[in-house]
Symmetry: C2
Subunit: 294 residues, 2 copies
């Protein structure tokens, strides 16, 4: 594909962590961008991103990384979205595609509406790639983190159709499956399949460590515990923001969960073997039938 013009001239990466760093490596590898500049709040992560070859130049303000870029990706904790968009708004050239990678979308859409004027808002396409791994930080970034993953876009009536098409084309070029949802449907869905499981994993870890013999209990734990509790290691600041941003939906899902837990415990209380079998069968066969991305 020599002499093919890349889709973008310059990526301005706002946030050089696991998600941002992996995105930069991926778009570089796919030949979608000529140059990458990055902002990160700490010199340490800027240096790490430079050393890794994720970015070509580092800046210590978001606006400096946005200036001159025709693609901007916000990869920061969602609570920082509005302030960051306000900080870069005047530096954005017309028709610069701006996206985020946040795990919640209603709050991000509100932040964008508040921070970006009528000229810039149409070129903001909220995005949520369903990818990640336990270890945070750009040092763990990998060019294939997004490969084969689902990316949910939540455009609104203000979104420019060309911006949306470009966003879709970009993620598809990274071999992602792309789908559109409303912010509300996105947040309700991920409350169920992601945010609630994180809440439960945090609660389970604290259940164990709060017991006087917590260390002894943990020494007994095996592969089932390892997999179940993996997501409890998630970045605390990130998950605090996600859970607070989406708290109404998370609480609604938690109430449904408690009702299901009540049903199971009722069987234990009453020794109802038949009903317990039915409930576990339901869970087990649903899990066996599930395939990621299926």
């Amino acid at each position: 594909m020599a002499n093919t013009k890349p889709m973008f001239r310059q990526l301005g990466l706002i946030g050089c962590g696991l998600m941002g760093g992996s995105f930069a490596l991926a778009v570089r590898r796919a030949g979608l961008v000529e140059r990458v500049v990055g902002y990160s709040p700490t010199a340490r992560s800027r240096d790490a991103a430079l050393a890794l070859g994720a970015i070509d130049a580092a800046f210590d303000t978001p606006a400096a990384a946005a200036r001159g870029s025709d693609l901007v990706l916000l990869a920061l904790p969602v609570a920082r979205t509005e302030a960051t968009l306000r900080a870069i708004c005047d530096a954005l050239a017309p028709e610069t595609l701006v996206m985020d990678v946040g795990s919640t979308k209603t709050d991000v859409v509100q932040a964008a509406a508040a921070a970006l004027g009528d000229a810039r808002l149409p070129w903001f396409v909220p995005a949520h790639p369903i990818a990640g791994k336990a270890q945070a930080g750009v040092a763990h970034a990998q060019a294939d983190l997004y490969q084969n993953c689902l990316v949910v876009l939540t455009p609104g009536t203000m979104t420019n159709v060309l911006a949306l098409a470009k966003a879709r084309q970009l993620w598809e070029a990274l071999q992602c499956r792309v789908r559109d949802m409303t912010p509300a449907a996105h947040d309700a869905g991920f409350a169920a399949v992601s945010h609630l499981p994180h809440l439960l994993a945090f609660a389970l870890m604290n259940t164990i460590t709060e017991q006087p013999d917590g260390a002894e209990l943990l020494s007994l734990a095996g592969p089932g515990f390892r997999d179940f509790s993996r997501i409890a290691e998630g970045d605390p600041a990130l998950w605090r923001d996600v859970l607070l941003a989406n708290r109404a939906q998370v609480q609604a899902q938690s109430a449904l969960f408690r009702a299901q837990l009540d049903l199971l415990e009722h069987c234990l209380e009453h020794g109802d073997s038949a009903q317990l079998t039915t409930l576990i069968n339901q869970a087990s066969s649903a899990r066996a039938a599930w395939k990621m991305g299926g």
Copy 2:
């Protein structure tokens, strides 16, 4: 090690599933046994165990597999322990080492005390190897399933010291770490780190599938959900038995869990970002510090 006499002449395997089949393959590979005979309730699993080379001969009663064996392993759902021990008791030769692999121990010890007379009970050593994988059945058996895993033995005052020493030597020869616990301490510990997580995973799956758009929700789920929910696929009959056998401890752990979930939800309800950060930090750093078998 040519001409070294194996530790056992014949293993009588009672239950040719994932756990039993893997044990047979492991003791064979380690040269610990000359011959393996097996019982399984269905012709299908007997044939599969023969085809896999896990057993040399198959029988359709537990007693037939126990007769002539100097090592007997019960690898059946824990609720079948007492009836199975009664069925094999008269077929057991003196000083035949009998073990189980069940996930609960108080009930197993009670079953053994009820089923085995004073002559046989001292040679029963309750064992719980902390190993497994999602797929059940002998077809998924593997000789290294137990390698590097923890094996908890729960001997009582009746247990013969030679039997206990042999049991320990056997598991150590399979490269397991062996530790002794009381049945009560075992059951309390595994209620916390295994049985409760399974209960939560079952409840989470049912929370999702009971919603009208459950299939749509599952289509959004990513790698975090995959790992968290893996244990929900566990064998329903096995987990029904475990949860019922250990229900008092499971309910006690579930009550502690609900209190931790309440704390987290209280933070969401009141937007208490500082306290939520503290709670998630506690969970995240405990999980980061945990190492299996550490």
